[in-house]
């Protein structure tokens, strides 16, 4: 599996492939939006930011020669950070409505850190969605709770009627799988 499914990106190059774009928006829209809000932008500004980024992508993607996901990822980050800076700059302008500039926005470095973290989480989420069918449903439920540290392995083993070893093994397998898939992205 890849982070930005290659086929999806390739399909996006077909300028009118609506379903591909819809999927793209569903994947990346919320990612960028949540991140932007985390950096301190208002909901409105965050939504605008997403729109700006998407607009750039719509214009440029059809000509973007796709290779490894890292290229796309770095590109997306560059575009997003640029738009973000633009947005901050605009907010700092003493324009008609000065209250717009009052919101505390994270320093750029922190925003960048958040972006990387959010993006990784996003990747993990995507990867999880893909691998979950490798596991029995009960194991998967238990594993998710275990990973989210909601309960100990023993408690979960009891709750779902599986052995504690199943949980440990599942975690080991999941992480190994993720590591294989996302190796060059996370380490």
């Amino acid at each position: 599996m890849t982070t930005t499914a290659t086929s999806l990106l390739l399909r996006l190059r077909e300028p009118t492939d609506k379903t591909a774009w819809a999927r793209f928006v569903q994947i990346y829209g919320p990612l960028i939006y949540r991140w932007a809000k985390r950096t301190g932008l208002s909901s409105d500004d965050s939504a605008d930011l997403v729109q700006d980024v998407l607009t750039v992508l719509v214009c440029k993607l059809p000509t973007f020669e796709y290779d490894r996901q890292r290229s796309f990822r770095a590109w997306l980050k560059t575009v997003t950070m640029n738009k973000w800076r633009e947005s901050i700059r605009k907010k700092s302008l003493p324009m008609a409505d000065s209250s717009a500039g009052d919101v505390a926005v994270l320093p750029e470095q922190q925003a960048t850190d958040y972006w990387d973290l959010d993006y990784k989480k996003h990747l993990v989420q995507q990867a999880m969605d893909l691998v979950q069918y490798d596991f029995q449903p009960a194991t998967w439920q238990a594993l998710k709770k275990y990973l989210a540290a909601e309960a100990t392995a023993d408690e979960l083993a009891a709750e779902f009627g599986i052995s504690v070893w199943t949980i440990y093994s599942a975690k080991s397998r999941l992480i190994k799988r993720l590591r294989d898939e996302l190796a060059d992205l996370l380490d």
Partner: protein, 1076 residues
């Protein structure tokens, strides 16, 4: 089969982190399921790894999604926006609609049709079928009812006016005299009622334009056949002294068998050339692509103009590309005048040399060097020999018009504006304008231009002796009414593309003769004052020189500027002393290392005895092109000077190799770079810079798709380039970083460690975003950087690295950026801290360079103003700016014109509108000027343009042009909010109740997918809505009740406000601004 030994704790940890091999995992799993001891170990282990963190926080981000519903609706919005962008028809303003309108314009005036086979009737023609429409008229297939033969009937658009009609008939009658196989035969010219028409031979076939559209290129043989026939036709017409003036593929008809070419529309371009409606877009028929240089300049044309166009046409057919490409009409015109294209043979080796040479001869920019007659071309194409070169006659010898010098000329024109040279050559093609040129010996003179008694412009010959101005009637007078000089003529009429010379003559003898009785004591004082101050100046100057020579340039500058600023002297400095002062400033600043400022002063010196010094200065500054000019000047004055010649050739080489090294974004652009620099050595080193434009070019694509190493990529791209350019390319080098400057690489040596995209793990740190450079390093880079985007990069970096210790430097940088016209960059620095020192420095700067830099510095000042000055300064500046506002505005216009770059002007003016709304008053824009700006604002995807439109609408609320823009604005369509949206609301409110806008809002409103986006409309409706909005609001309330019961406040408020206003509107005038 439990293994005998338990794994070590660290192996267990590895296991939990998924770091073991598959085999080992299997072994451990079977062991662990049996081993309680290991279970305890695991429970005791506190395993942490990257993934653990990512999982742990996974649920956090889910929490943040309490607004899941909102997010979902946002996603739908985004999808809708994207869809809209995907489906935006690429040519929504394209021909069809226009064509229909034009046809309608004609058809509505025809006599009614007699049966179903015809569209209508005109004179003795039955109009049968529409063949085509053009800027000028509509062409129909018609039947001549007397002779029963089919004709092509061209009918002039009646809206072009009577004068055009007269010229059309006149030209058509003249063209009817041409009898030739390859010129379309005109049967009949006439008019009936409002319609002028001409009936032509009806030929089967398609235009060459359509043919090219299909095949893009013709074979050399075909081109020879077509071009010979065109040349024959031209020769026949030229014999009768008729010039076509619009030879282009659309005007050549190719017969169905492809063997016969016929020229259409002889002379007709000229007939409508003068019509403002046609020329409002700048060009007859919309394309200047086939124009000759003299035509583009609006100069006299003769038969050879047609030959140039024929050359362009042949070039296009042979190579499949235009010799003078450009994104818009102006770029094309610039290219026609400045660029020498690659020869067709350089593009395609299959093209015979003689043919390629013939085309290049036809494309000779100097009309006198072009082949003289069409018959020469016919002969040359028949025999396969290049035409004999024309020998220039001396009658109208204009050395600067020689091929290849246009680049310099335009550059000179730009400089002339800043007072470098006495004479400016300014090419304008703005067709509704003419020029006033002032001729005077006295640069102190200022001429006022009045229209209907109102002052519209001041011409200051010391900065620019030519102004371009709307056509109309003007009076001129001297600004200083007490002056002894006379001016003539005092009244003038400026016509389109016309230049009127105003001569100012100083009554020198009378003024300087001792025996003239002075009419007042003031005059005496003034004279004495002048000479005294001159002596004083000389003293100061010598003191300054001494200081500088003693190694104290800063003190020298201080002395000079203090003395100049503290007195009125500046205005009385004679040209001689003025030069000395400038030179001294230049040398002192240069010594200080303030090269940018030194440069300004050197520029002001122009062509004088210091040329060699200036040449070396520019060479040192790596401005090789400018350096070349100066060296060349010295060399021309003394051609025996071997040393200067060598220096000149050295910098020329550098100038030529510098530019093509930067090929941004890949191959497409590299071609245009090559076109722009015809003399660049084709075997030079080409540097492809993929990071700069996010690497969307072919080069980048190949690297990415094929996963090549950097070196392989370079080779691949090199081969690709060679193939594409049909020329050997020796080396291609990728720069390593985004928008890396060539200046970054030491001695031009390429950096090769990494490819464009930043490294994955290390790019998160603050430093790496700015490439680990320090403030000083960025500052140094910025000083040398010429590319505006990379300047911006530098500034962004500088901005975030600015602190107490380097603020002074940052301040100075702002000034310099403003001077270098990178205003956006300047803003980005100023707006961070707005230190008062910036303001002070700007003020000083403004004072210091008032005389010749006022336009540019004025902009800097405006931006400083915009960045929240302290109140006391603010007042002073407001006055200052109000006084000069109009002049700044015009300066922008003039600079743009001098550079032949109206886009630049528009951009700067829009920045002003967008960022400096309080200044709009000071610009004293007329409604028609605003309307003109508004006409430039119809762009759906440019937020800046919309911001400008909104600012203008707030300024001039009732202008229909602006209302139209706002109605169609991006904000409206995409429901943009935030920065722009608020201004949009304000603008709409300023416009007040407008039925169109309300209707548009309501329509949009009803289709709104989510409540989140409605606020802005609700505010607008509350402010300006009428009763019609109430039912819409009511139904919206119903919707909200179901989904978002708590979100109805604004709706109710809007509804109540409208109702209140409606019920009181007969007797209460509620001022809309106070209600909120």
């Amino acid at each position: 089969m439990a293994p005998s030994t338990c794994p070590k704790p660290n192996e267990l940890a590895e296991f939990l982190c998924g770091r073991l091999t598959d085999d080992r995992v299997c072994e451990l799993e079977s062991h662990l399921s049996e081993c309680d001891a290991c279970g305890d170990t695991i429970r005791a282990l506190n395993v942490e790894d990257t993934f653990a963190n990512l999982f742990a926080e996974q649920s956090d981000s889910a929490d943040a999604d309490q607004d899941q519903g909102e997010l979902a609706s946002l996603v739908r919005d985004w999808e809708a926006i994207i869809e809209e962008q995907l489906h935006e028809p690429p040519d929504r303003y394209a021909q069809p609609k226009d064509a229909q309108q034009r046809a309608y314009e004609v058809e509505s005036r025809l006599a009614p049709a007699q049966d179903e086979t015809e569209i209508g009737r005109l004179a003795n023609y039955r109009i049968l079928r529409l063949l085509g429409t053009g800027g000028m008229g509509v062409v129909y297939l018609a039947e001549d009812m007397q002779l029963r033969r089919p004709v092509a009937l061209k009918i002039l658009r009646p809206s072009l006016g009577e004068a055009a009609q007269q010229r059309f008939l006149q030209e058509a009658r003249a063209a009817a005299a041409i009898e030739h196989d390859h010129v379309i035969t005109i049967y009949h010219v006439g008019s009936e009622g409002p319609l002028a028409f001409l009936a032509m031979q009806y030929l089967h076939g398609e235009t060459l334009e359509k043919r090219l559209h299909r095949d893009n290129q013709l074979s050399a043989d075909e081109v020879i056949a077509v071009a010979s026939q065109i040349a024959e036709g031209l020769a026949a017409a030229h014999e009768k002294h008729l010039i076509h003036r619009d030879i282009k593929p659309a005007n050549i008809l190719i017969s169905d068998d492809g063997k016969r070419a016929t020229i259409l529309d002889f002379g007709l371009a000229y007939a409508v050339d003068d019509n403002p409606e046609l020329t409002e877009t700048g060009m007859v028929a919309g394309t200047p692509a086939y124009m000759s240089p003299e035509q583009a300049r609006g100069q006299l044309m003769d038969e050879r103009t047609d030959l140039f166009s024929l050359g362009t046409l042949m070039y296009r057919c042979l190579t499949g590309q235009m010799p003078f490409p450009g994104k818009n009409a102006l770029a094309v015109i610039r290219s026609i005048q400045c660029d020498t294209p690659m020869s067709p043979r350089q593009i395609d080796l299959r093209i015979p040399r003689f043919l390629s040479d013939t085309v290049m001869d036809l494309l000779e920019k100097d009309i006198r060097l072009r082949p003289e007659k069409a018959s020469i071309i016919v002969e040359s194409l028949r025999t396969g020999r290049r035409p004999a070169r024309a020998v220039a006659d001396n009658r109208s010898l204009d050395p600067s018009a020689a091929n290849g010098n246009f680049r310099h000329r335009i550059w000179i024109a730009a400089l002339a504006f800043f007072g470098l040279f006495g004479a400016a050559a300014i090419y304008t093609i703005q067709t509704d304008r003419g020029q006033i040129i002032v001729k005077t010996d006295d640069p102190q003179i200022q001429v006022e231009v009045l229209k209907a008694g109102e002052l519209v412009r001041i011409i200051d010959p010391s900065t620019d002796d030519t102004v371009t101005i709307q056509s109309g009637e003007y009076q001129v007078r001297l600004k200083d009414s007490a002056s002894q000089a006379t001016i003539s003529p005092q009244k003038l009429t400026i016509r389109r593309n016309d230049a009127q010379v105003v001569t100012v003559e100083q009554e020198i003898e009378a003024a300087s003769a001792d025996d003239v009785v002075s009419d007042g004591i003031d005059d005496d004082l003034q004279k004495n004052g002048a000479s005294e101050s001159e002596a004083e100046l000389n003293r100061i100057l010598h003191e300054a020189i001494a200081l500088r020579e003693a190694g104290k340039p800063a003190e020298a500058i201080k002395l000079l500027s203090h003395q100049l600023a503290s007195s009125e002297m500046g205005e009385e400095i004679g040209p001689e002393v003025g030069r000395k002062l400038k030179l001294e400033y230049a040398r002192a600043y240069r010594m200080l290392g303030e090269y940018d400022i030194a440069e300004l002063y050197y520029q002001g010196l122009g062509n004088g005895p210091e040329a060699l010094e200036i040449a070396r200065f520019y060479e040192e500054r790596q401005q090789f092109e400018r350096s070349f000019d100066q060296y060349n000047r010295v060399f021309l004055a003394d051609p025996t000077n071997e040393e200067v010649r060598k220096a000149r050739d050295r910098v020329r080489k550098l100038a030529e190799t510098e530019e093509p090294q930067r090929i941004f974004g890949g191959i497409e652009i590299s071609l245009s770079v090559l076109n722009a620099l015809p003399n660049a050595p084709i075997d030079g080193i080409y540097r492809v810079e993929p990071g700069g434009t996010l690497a969307l070019g072919v080069a980048y694509g190949r690297v990415n798709v094929e996963g090549l190493t950097l070196q392989e990529a370079e080779t691949a791209v090199r081969d690709h380039l060679s193939e594409y350019l049909q020329a050997p390319v020796v080396q291609v080098t990728f720069a390593a970083n985004r928008r890396q400057s060539p200046l970054d690489a030491k001695d031009g040596s390429p950096e090769t460690e990494t490819f464009a995209t930043p490294n994955d793990s290390s790019d998160t740190s603050h430093e790496s975003l700015y490439d680990g450079k320090t403030f000083d390093e960025w500052h140094a880079l910025l000083k040398r950087e010429k590319h505006p985007e990379r300047q911006n990069d530098c500034l962004v970096a500088l901005r975030s690295l600015t602190n107490e210790s380097n603020r002074g430097q940052a301040t100075e940088t702002v000034l310099q950026m403003a001077k270098r016209e990178n205003f956006n960059a300047a803003i980005s620095l100023v707006s961070k801290d707005r230190p008062e020192s910036v303001v002070d420095a700007m003020m000083q700067q403004f004072e210091r360079v008032k005389a010749n830099e006022v336009g540019r510095s004025g902009l800097a000042v405006i931006f400083a103003y915009w960045t929240n000055l302290p109140p006391d300064l603010s007042n002073e500046w407001t006055q200052l700016l109000s006084k000069h506002g109009r002049y700044f505005w015009d300066s922008i216009e003039t600079i743009g014109q001098a550079n032949n770059d109206p886009d630049w002007t528009l951009e700067k003016q829009l920045i002003l509108c967008q960022y400096v709304p309080p200044m709009l008053d000071a610009f004293t824009l007329t409604d028609s000027e605003i309307a003109k700006l508004a006409s430039e604002l119809h762009s759906k995807d440019d937020a800046r343009k919309m911001d400008a439109a909104v600012a203008l609408a707030n300024h001039a609320p009732k202008l229909p042009a602006l209302i139209a823009v706002l109605k169609e604005s991006t904000y409206f369509e995409s429901q943009r909010k935030g920065f722009g949206g608020k201004n949009y609301v304000k603008a709409v409110i300023a416009i007040g109740a407008n039925a169109d806008i309300q209707a548009a809002i309501l329509e949009r409103f009803e289709s709104l997918p989510a409540w989140t986006r409605a606020h802005r409309f609700l505010v607008i409706l509350g402010e300006v809505g009428t009763a019609e909005a109430i039912p819409v609001l009511d139904s919206y309330l119903e919707t909200l009740k179901k989904h978002l019961p708590d979100e109805n406040d604004l709706v109710k408020l809007a509804r109540e406000t409208i109702k209140a206003r409606e019920s009181h509107k007969d007797y209460i005038d509620v001022p809309s601004q106070q209600r909120r």
